[in-house]
């Protein structure tokens, strides 16, 4: 399974699939590679594309469930799942790129020097301001439930969120 980042895809409603072009790394020149990926253009978004393994029902339900629990996102509907599938297929295009011999880039800051701070106390006296942000506090402590509240099962969630805006 290719690595995919869904941080922006919570409520998938017709999300554009044209994003993230610059993440493709074709040339050795790391800086300013903003060209569209050079692919066999016409086959980009067709459903009979590159990866015949990927079709609408291939993501196992328990994997989706696991993702929902780990990231606390909700794919909610068939449309949501379809969006997920499309996003995966889109990201899979990265496999077409020949990266042999190329170091992976995980930060656009990779050629910057990491700034090192002196070990002095410069902040941290913000108890009042921070506690004000919480609805519930007890004697300068934040209040949380007794443990992680288990995510309700899919059926329960569907019922709970039936009338939600999304």
């Amino acid at each position: 399974m290719s690595a995919f980042r869904l941080t922006g895809l919570c409520s998938c409603r017709g999300v554009s699939l044209k994003v993230i072009e610059s993440s493709c790394n074709l040339s050795r020149n790391r800086r300013g590679c903003l060209q569209r990926p050079l692919l066999n253009g016409t086959r980009l978004f067709s459903s009979h594309s590159l990866n015949s393994k990927v079709n609408l029902n291939i993501i196992p339900a328990d994997l989706v469930d696991k993702l929902e629990r780990l990231a606390l996102v909700d794919f909610r509907t068939k449309e949501g799942l379809a969006c997920l599938e499309k996003a995966i297929r889109f990201a899979d295009q990265l496999h077409l790129v020949d990266t042999s011999g190329v170091e992976p880039m995980d930060s656009v800051l990779e050629d910057r020097a990491l700034y090192l701070r002196n070990d002095t106390e410069t902040e941290g006296d913000s108890a009042e301001e921070l506690l004000k942000l919480a609805k519930n506090t007890v004697e300068e402590y934040f209040v949380a439930p007794p443990g992680n509240i288990p995510l309700p099962k899919r059926e329960e969630r569907t019922a709970m969120l039936k009338h939600s805006e999304f």
């Binding site: 980042r5 701070r117 902040e123 913000s126 209040v143």
Partner: protein
């Protein structure tokens, strides 16, 4: 390991395999990625910056001291320092982790492939120094989480973020150990090293050093068994007990034909048992990803490899840190053996017991007594009493100077060695009294007045003609009986050397 041995025999040689995951809180003024202070007991949430509280728009800024601490610790443990290391995010949800992820170093930590050499006193009489090694897989920098206080009465958890973001060094030790004693000795040695380096104060009860044990059992030569993780261990003593309990528990399970489950268990010091921890939702998936806000961390080998014109406060140079390493415990032990001619097992105990080495050296400065004899007093009388009353060296009612005085008095014949031991006991119970005072009060001073001794010896000799006869006939052992009688007369306060001389004279023939 001695209480596991008979069990091993019974169970066809199932043996324990122990690995450790240790979190050492870095001793620094401020946190790993923010300028909040690091301090033990502060009012809740009074040492929390906006970044620590994970407010949007805040970014991590790495503390140079924490990098230096990790490099120093890596060097002391013979690790390879990765010139380039990377930061990652480890995601999980818990109320004391406000960001929903912890910044750690999963892919490339700052130090790898080290070795920790540790010792413990083994053998039949526990007087032999046994040396072992454990491989250090890696040392990585990571953030600490906040603290959760569970309030079961109101069914809530109170969160204090003072600790959130404090720098930690996670040390992973390979499963090279086989029992609680070994693990305890390894952690003790690590504690001594960290304290000598100043990178971590190592106080387990204050949470500065946290140890989780990975325990499994198997038959030697066969693949490793399923392991359990044991948490909630607050002292070195409990560490040994928890591990030994868990090994025995697992052997018991296997014996009954059951299977060991891969789970996390908590150690309960009251019962001495490990119990399964609730709230563990199956296998966690931390979805590691590179920390996008931090470039790679580069440390330089030496000044020659520095880029030109760089600010010295912006670089960490391994060579400089290597040169600044203080004396490590193993070296200290060697020096003690060299300097004082004491046995390795004594030197081991001196360094192992907090404050004992300093105590010993203080005494040595103030007495002419031979080191090996002083060691006897320090190990037996002093340490014996301390252990019996569960006290630390710093709590000793007898100061090094006071003990030195007593030893000097014994050296000069003011008191016999058994008398000195009595004086020691009295001094222990009445703090502040000097040896001389006690000797006078208890009238324990040795009688060395020649006239008095002669008179008493004469009396004994005169009243025991049979014994004198036996001595004159060559049975020298009978002298001891006469010595005993003289000592009884003087209530044990006769200088034995003088008395023996006088008795020998008097029984030689012809009297005095």
């Amino acid at each position: 390991a001695s209480n596991v041995a008979p069990l091993i025999h019974l169970c066809q040689k199932l043996v324990g395999v122990v690995g450790l995951e240790i979190h050492a809180q870095i001793s620094s003024n401020s946190k790993l990625f923010s300028g909040s202070p690091v301090c033990f007991s502060a009012p809740p949430n009074s040492q929390v910056s906006f970044f620590d509280a994970s407010l949007p728009g805040t970014l991590p800024v790495l503390n140079r001291r924490c990098v230096e601490a990790a490099v120093m610790t890596g060097l002391a443990l013979n690790c390879t320092i990765n010139k380039k290391s990377l930061f990652d995010r480890k995601h999980y949800f818990y109320a004391d982790l406000p960001a929903g992820y912890q910044i750690t170093q999963q892919r490339r930590p700052v130090a790898v492939d080290g070795v920790l050499t540790y010792s413990f006193l083994g053998g039949k009489k526990r007087s032999q120094v046994v040396r072992k090694h454990v491989q250090i897989k890696q040392i990585q920098l990571e953030q600490d989480s906040g603290k959760s206080l569970h309030d079961d009465v109101h069914s809530q958890t109170l969160i204090d973020l003072n600790r959130a973001g404090v720098g930690l060094m996670e040390l992973v030790m390979e499963p090279d150990m086989s029992c609680g004693e070994e693990a305890a000795a390894a952690v003790r040695e690590l504690q001594l090293i960290l304290q000598a380096l100043g990178t971590c104060q190592g106080n387990m009860s204050e949470g500065q050093l946290r140890v989780d044990a990975n325990v499994s059992v198997h038959r030697p030569g066969e693949p490793l068994g399923v392991r359990t993780e044991v948490k909630n261990i607050n002292s070195i003593r409990y560490l040994a007990r928890a591990i030994d309990y868990e090994i025995q528990r697992q052997i018991g399970v296997m014996q009954r034909g059951g299977t060991v489950h891969n789970e996390t268990r908590a150690y309960d010091s009251k019962s001495g048992e490990t119990i399964p921890m609730r709230d563990k939702e199956g296998l966690q998936d931390y979805r590691f990803m590179p920390e996008p806000n931090l470039p790679p961390l580069i440390v330089f080998e030496d000044n020659a490899t520095l880029p030109p014109g760089v600010d010295s406060s912006q670089v960490v140079v391994v060579q400089k840190i290597k040169e600044g390493l203080p004396e490590l415990p193993s070296v200290k032990r060697e020096h003690l053996v060299q300097a004082y001619g004491i046995l390795p097992e004594h030197s081991f105990t001196l360094v192992n017991e907090e404050g004992l080495m300093e105590y010993f050296e203080e005494v040595m400065k103030a007495t002419r007594k031979e080191p090996r004899k002083v060691i006897g007093w320090v190990m037996n009388e002093l340490l014996g009493q301390l252990k019996q009353q569960d006290m630390s060296v710093s709590q000793s009612p007898i100061s090094p100077a006071a003990l030195a005085e007593l030893l000097e008095l014994q050296e000069t014949g003011r008191v016999s060695s058994s008398g000195a031991k009595q004086v020691f006991q009295v001094m222990w119970g009445s703090s502040g009294k000097t040896a001389e005072q006690v000797i006078q009060e208890q009238d324990l001073g040795l009688v060395s007045d020649a006239t008095q001794l002669h008179n008493i010896c004469q009396k004994v000799v005169d009243s025991h003609p049979t014994e004198v006869h036996a001595i004159r006939n060559g049975n020298a052992k009978v002298l001891n009986k006469l010595m005993g009688l003289v000592q009884r007369e003087l209530r044990g306060k006769a200088d034995p050397v003088l008395v023996m001389e006088i008795l020998k004279q008097k029984t030689r023939g012809g009297g005095c």
